[in-house]
C-alpha cells in the first residue's frame, strides 16, 4: 500500500514524461528492429523479383542447364552449382579435421598463455580481408600449387579422376585451398567454445578412470559435442558457399563441368562477382539474380540447418555460440 501511495505522490508531470520516454525508446528501438526485418525481407523479394525474367524463360530447367552463353542469351546454372559444391566440399574436407584439432589444442592441450595467443592468431586469420587472401592466392599460392602441389598429387594419385588433369595456377583446387583457409578459423573458434563448455567433472571423471587424454577427448569431449560440431561445420559451409571475391580471383572463370580439380571452374557467387564489368542484356542480369536466388536459398537453408541441429540434439547448448 505504502509503495503505491509513494508512486502516486510523484509529480504528475514527471510521470507523463516517463510514460512518454518509455514509449519513445520502445518505439525507436522497435522501429530499428522492424527496419532490420524489412531489409531482410526486401533482400529476398528483390533477389527473387529480379530473377523473374530468367525464371519465366528458363523455368526450373535453369538449375540443370549447362550452357552459359551471353551471345545467344542462354543461361544455365549447373556448372556453377557443381563448382560451388565441389569447392565447398573440398574446403570442408581439409578444414574441418584441421579446425577440430586446433580447437582441441586450444581447449585441452595448450597452457593458458599459449592458448590465448594462438587462439587470437587463429581469429586474426579470419580478419584478413578476402580480397587480400585472393590476391595472395592468385600470385603466390596458385603458382606454388601449380609447380609443386598439383604435380605431386598428379604423379601419386593421378589414377583418381579428381587429380588427373593438367596442373595450372588457377582453378577449383586453388579455390578449395583458399576457402579452407577461410573456413578453419570459423569452425575452430566455435569448436573451441564447445569443447570448453564440456563440464569439467565429465573430463575429470574419464581421467580418474584411467583414460589417457586422447581417450578422454574421444570418449567425452568429442562425443558430447557432436551436434555442436555439426552446427560449426554448417556455419563453415555457409561461409565457403557464399565467398565470392577470393574465389573469383583464383578459380579462373571456367564454365564447363570437369572432374579434375585442377581445371578452372566457377561457383554461383564467383560467377556473379565475375560479371562486375557489366552484363550485356536484361536477360543476363536476370540470370545473375537467378544464380543469387539459388545461392540465397542454399545459404538460408545452411544457416537454419545449423540452428536446427543445435536445437534438436542439445537444447542446453543453444546459447553456446
Amino acid at each position: 500500500m505504502s509503495a503505491v501511495t509513494a508512486v502516486e505522490r510523484l509529480g504528475h508531470g514527471r510521470r507523463l514524461r516517463d510514460r512518454f520516454g518509455d514509449r519513445a525508446l520502445f518505439g525507436l528501438t522497435g522501429l530499428a528492429s522492424l527496419a532490420a526485418i524489412l531489409v531482410m525481407v526486401a533482400i529476398v523479394l528483390k533477389v527473387f523479383g529480379a530473377s523473374r525474367l530468367a525464371f519465366d524463360k528458363f523455368g526450373l530447367a535453369f538449375l540443370w542447364g549447362r550452357v552459359w552463353d551471353a551471345n545467344i542469351d542462354v543461361y544455365g546454372a549447373l556448372p556453377f552449382i557443381f563448382g560451388t559444391l565441389v569447392t565447398s566440399l573440398m574446403a570442408l574436407v581439409i578444414a574441418v579435421p584441421l579446425a577440430i584439432a586446433i580447437a582441441l589444442f586450444l581447449s585441452e592441450l595448450a597452457p593458458r598463455g599459449v592458448g590465448g595467443v594462438v587462439g587470437a592468431l587463429v581469429e586474426t586469420l579470419a580478419a584478413v580481408p578476402s580480397v587480400v587472401l585472393g590476391l595472395w592466392g592468385i600470385l603466390v599460392l596458385g603458382p606454388f600449387a601449380a609447380d609443386h602441389l598439383e604435380p605431386w598429387l598428379h604423379d601419386h594419385l593421378g589414377f583418381i579422376p579428381l587429380f588427373s588433369g593438367t596442373p595450372q595456377s588457377s582453378g577449383i583446387f586453388i579455390a578449395g585451398l583458399i576457402l579452407a583457409i577461410m573456413v578453419v578459423p570459423i569452425v575452430a573458434s566455435v569448436c573451441r567454445e564447445l569443447f570448453l563448455s564440456v563440464p569439467d567433472e565429465l573430463e575429470e571423471g574419464a581421467l580418474a578412470l584411467g583414460a589417457t587424454r586422447w581417450e578422454m577427448v574421444k570418449g567425452v569431449v568429442l562425443s558430447s559435442s557432436k551436434p555442436g560440431i555439426g552446427a560449426a561445420v554448417m556455419l563453415g559451409l555457409g561461409r565457403a558457399l557464399g565467398e565470392a571475391i577470393a574465389v573469383t580471383q583464383v578459380i579462373g572463370a571456367g564454365h564447363t563441368i570437369q572432374w579434375s580439380l585442377f581445371a578452372t571452374g566457377d561457383t554461383l557467387a564467383s560467377r556473379i562477382a565475375g560479371q562486375y564489368q557489366g552484363a550485356v542484356s536484361k536477360m543476363q542480369v536476370s540470370a545473375l539474380f537467378y544464380l543469387g536466388a539459388i545461392l540465397l536459398v542454399i545459404g538460408l537453408l545452411t544457416n537454419l540447418g545449423a540452428r536446427l541441429i543445435v536445437r534438436r540434439f542439445d537444447p542446453h547448448r543453444v546459447g553456446a555460440d
Binding site: 508512486v7 510523484l10 516517463d18 520516454g21 525508446l25 520502445f26 528501438t29 522501429l31 530499428a32 528492429s33 532490420a36 526485418i37 526486401a42 533482400i43 533477389v47 584441421l98 579446425a99 584439432a101 582441441l104 589444442f105 586450444l106 585441452e108 595448450a110 594462438v118 592468431l121 587463429v122 581469429e123 586469420l125 580478419a127 584478413v128 580481408p129 578476402s130 580480397v131 587480400v132 590476391l135 595472395w136 600470385l139 603466390v140 584411467g210 583414460a211 589417457t212 587424454r213 586422447w214 581417450e215 558430447s224 555457409g238 557464399g242 565470392a244 571475391i245 573469383t248 580471383q249 557467387a269 556473379i272 562477382a273 543469387g292 545461392l295 540465397l296 545459404g299 545452411t302 540452428r307
Partner: protein
C-alpha cells in the same frame, strides 16, 4: 557414448603412443594455422613494403598504363564509405540490441534474433546484387549504395556485440535503478548503456575493421571511378578493396605491385584495429565481470 575399455592388458604402451600422436597432430594443426597467417602477412609485407612511400599514400591513382601514382583517393573513399555505413549501422544495431534485451517479449526477441543471425550469414555477394538492383541498376554508380551494403554487413555484428555486453550488465544495476523509482528509459539510457559503452565501442570498431575489407558489396555499385580524390558519396568513390581486386585481375605486373602495397595498407589497418579492439574488449569484460 562408447564405453571405454580401461583394462591394461599390456596395451598401455599403445594407448600412450596413440595419446602422444593425437597431441602432436593437434599441435601441428595449430602451428599450421598460425603458419598460414604468418605466410600471408609476410607475403603482403615483403611485396608491399618496397612500394610503400609517402608519395604512394598521397598521390592520385595512376592513369591507365602510366607508371607511379598513389592511393590517396582509395584511402579517402574507403573512409567515407565505411564512415557512412557506421553512422547507419551503429545506432541501428545498438537500438536493436536494446529492444531485444530490454523491451521485447521473449518470443519476439527470438524472432528478431533469427533475422539478425540470418543477416549475419548472408553471403556478401547477395548484399551486392541487392544494393545494385535497388540503387544502381538503371542509374549511375554511387558511393551511398556501397555504404548501404556495408551497413548491412556491419549491422548484425554491432547488434551481437551490443547484446553480449548488455547481458553482462548485472541485473542488480537495473533493479537498483528501477527500485529508486527511475523509469525504464532512464534506466536504459543512464545506467545500462553507460556501463556497456566500452563493449559497444569495441564491437563497432571490429565491425568497421570487417567492413573496410569487404569488396563484394562495393563491386557493382562503386567500382568505376575517377582517379582523383572524391568527397561526394553521391558519385562513385574509389576504395581500397575494389581497387586491389581490379589490380589483381590485371595482367600488368606494375598493377600487381600496387595491389600488394594497397593490400599492405589495408591489412595493417584491419589487423591493428581488430587486435586493439579485441584487447580492449577482453579488458572491459574482465572489469564488468568483476
Amino acid at each position: 557414448m562408447s564405453t571405454l575399455d580401461l583394462r591394461g592388458r599390456g596395451r598401455t604402451r599403445r594407448r600412450l603412443i596413440a595419446n602422444r600422436a593425437a597431441e602432436v597432430v593437434a599441435l601441428i594443426a595449430a602451428l599450421a594455422a598460425v603458419a598460414v597467417l604468418g605466410i600471408v602477412v609476410w607475403s603482403v609485407a615483403k611485396r608491399g613494403a618496397s612500394q610503400l612511400s609517402i608519395g604512394f599514400l598521397t598521390k592520385d591513382l595512376p592513369l591507365f598504363g602510366q607508371p607511379g601514382g598513389g592511393i590517396a583517393p582509395l584511402i579517402v573513399g574507403s573512409a567515407i564509405l565505411v564512415g557512412i555505413a557506421a553512422l547507419i549501422a551503429v545506432p541501428t544495431g545498438v537500438a536493436i540490441a536494446i529492444f531485444t534485451d530490454e523491451f521485447a517479449p521473449p518470443r519476439l526477441a527470438r524472432a528478431i534474433q533469427v533475422v539478425i543471425d540470418l543477416m549475419n550469414g548472408l553471403p556478401s555477394i547477395i548484399i551486392a546484387i541487392f544494393v545494385f538492383g535497388v540503387f544502381v541498376y538503371g542509374h549511375p554508380q554511387n558511393g551511398l549504395a556501397g555504404s548501404y551494403g556495408l551497413a548491412i554487413v556491419m549491422l548484425p555484428l554491432v547488434t551481437r556485440a551490443t547484446q553480449e555486453v548488455l547481458r553482462l550488465v548485472p541485473s542488480s544495476q537495473r533493479e537498483g535503478a528501477l527500485a529508486l523509482g527511475a523509469s525504464r528509459w532512464r534506466t536504459v539510457l543512464t545506467v545500462v548503456l553507460p556501463s556497456a559503452l566500452g563493449g559497444v565501442v569495441t564491437g563497432s570498431v571490429l565491425a568497421v575493421a570487417r567492413a573496410v575489407g569487404e569488396t563484394a558489396p562495393l563491386l557493382f555499385v562503386t567500382s568505376i571511378y575517377a582517379n582523383t580524390v572524391q568527397w561526394d558519396p553521391r558519385h562513385a568513390l574509389p576504395n581500397m578493396p575494389v581497387q586491389i581486386f581490379l589490380w589483381s585481375e590485371s595482367s600488368d605486373p606494375a598493377d600487381h605491385e600496387r595491389a600488394w602495397a594497397t593490400a599492405l595498407v589495408l591489412i595493417v589497418f584491419v589487423l591493428v584495429t581488430s587486435l586493439l579492439a579485441r584487447l580492449a574488449l577482453a579488458r572491459s569484460r574482465r572489469n564488468m565481470i568483476r
